[in-house]
Amino acid sequence: MPAAIRLVQGFLASIGAAVLGLCQTTGSLTLFALDGVSHVLRPPWYPMEFARQLLRIGYFSLPVVGLTALFTGGALALQIYAGGARFNAESVVPSIVAIGMVRELGPVLGGLMVAGRVSASIAAELGTMRVTEQIDALWTLSTNPMKYLVAPRLLAATLAMPALAFVGDVIGIMGGFAVGVARLDFNPAVYIDTTWRFLETGDITSGLIKAAVFGFIIALMGCYQGYRSGRGAQGVGRATTNAVVSASILILASNYILTEALFPA
């Protein structure tokens, strides 16, 4: 009997430890985020660093986001056609593809793909800089690394991600259009017309707001994990994995919360 009690106690203790750890991480992540944002708002700024990050996070993510959207839009058209056919509603394909891409799939799938690419590379870069004392060296050269490294990345990702999502929306709708016309015998003019008719401005802006939040999360998790990286190559490896996993989960969780907030049922 005492053995069973000990087992339960151990189990409860491990849950308690996990909860405490979670609270601690949430606290330090929040402080880190506030510190980073405060440096985005206060001079001195480093415009060259910002431009470099914009190029790296925004421009070089275009192929990934574009391909993701293209194939998703195509698959979406096929699925909605198959689903719609069950109650003779095949004609909804263009509008549902457009609304689905713009409101949900463009920002979320784009965000997840960019998380894999950018969170990982930011975490690896900052982690290596931590391990090789480059972050310490910045301090000794009177440069605050939160301002020089973290702030430009946060701002660049927050601004680049909506632009990427917008490009993704357009390409995704084009993917749906291509499949609709080539495989599902839609009339091209009718397809385009239906796409536009039911799409509202709110659909687009809400998707872009989501994307901005996801962009912030992507850079934040990359910076946070990299900045606090443990020692050695092992520490950097762990930081990189943690950055991608935590950014992806936070994107999905915040997507639900944002959807509730933007489109209350």
């Binding site: 001195p44 004392e133 000794t140």
Partner: protein, 251 residues
């Protein structure tokens, strides 16, 4: 100018510093000696505020170095130059941009052409040619990276300079050049210097005073002239590289 009292630091259960008392006067060159892993680098990083000590006080020019935050901390660090043990060069920047990092930023920033010229001049002082200026740090050997780090540390002629193992990884001739350079910086620029080294030739060349760190405390500190005559068993064993003594060879 710099005064440490009772500085203690542990990483997890591992106690590295256990009450370090040390002071360096203005314009003085202090050398810290001690076995590897005894916390010499940690001591310097505590003064720079890169590691927060668990206990103790650190004063730089009478100012509390540990409590300094924000602008006050940046103003304090403006006085410092630091050569890191591993060089800590920014690998995304060219060599000259590394050396000129501080010259290119801040209130009194120089234009790129002027900063580049100053950087090349500093590179020459540490025995590197102008051609190295346009390479990336990864293209240099370890010893060359170290010298670039040195050039970066002295680029703005700071009041206080820390050198973490400046001659490790250099050939004896280049090591001698660097020793002379450090001595020159202290004498000519009137800088206050703290240097970590294992190299007894360096110690004799660079130091005004020597401090020996072992088991988390300063075991001995005194003028460089006394390192050969002191009765202190730690210093005696270290200076003469003896296998027997209070410092166990296997730890």
């Amino acid at each position: 100018m710099i005064a440490l009292s009772g500085v203690a630091k542990a990483f997890g259960s591992k106690r590295v510093l256990a009450g370090v008392d040390l002071s360096v006067a203005r314009g003085e060159s202090l050398v810290i000696i001690g076995g590897s892993g005894t916390g010499k680098s940690v001591t310097l990083k505590c003064v720079l505020g890169l590691i927060v000590p668990d206990a103790g006080r650190i004063l730089v020019d009478g100012q509390d170095a540990v409590a300094a935050r924000g602008r006050a901390r940046e103003a304090m660090l403006d006085k410092f130059g630091m050569l890191f043990q591993g060089g800590a060069l920014f690998d995304s920047m060219l060599v000259w941009e590394n050396v000129a990092f501080r010259l290119l930023r801040g209130q009194n920033r120089l234009g790129r052409a002027e900063a580049r010229e100053t950087a090349i001049e500093k590179l020459k002082r540490v025995g590197l040619t102008a051609e190295t200026a346009d390479l990336f740090p990864a293209e240099l050997s370890g010893g060359m990276q170290k010298r670039v780090g040195l050039a970066r540390a002295i680029a703005t002629t700071p009041e206080i300079i820390f050198f973490d193992e400046p001659t490790t990884g250099l050939d004896p001739i280049m090591a001698d050049v660097i020793n002379d350079l450090i001595r020159e910086i202290v004498v000519e620029m009137g800088a206050t210097a703290m240097t970590i080294t294992h190299d007894m030739t360096s110690v004799r060349k660079i130091a005004d005073r020597v401090a020996m760190l072992h088991e988390g405390v300063i075991q001995w500190a005194g003028p460089v002239g006394e390192i050969d005559t002191t009765e202190n068993p730690y210093v005696h064993q270290f200076v003469n590289g003896l296998p027997d003594g209070p410092i166990a060879a296997v730890r």
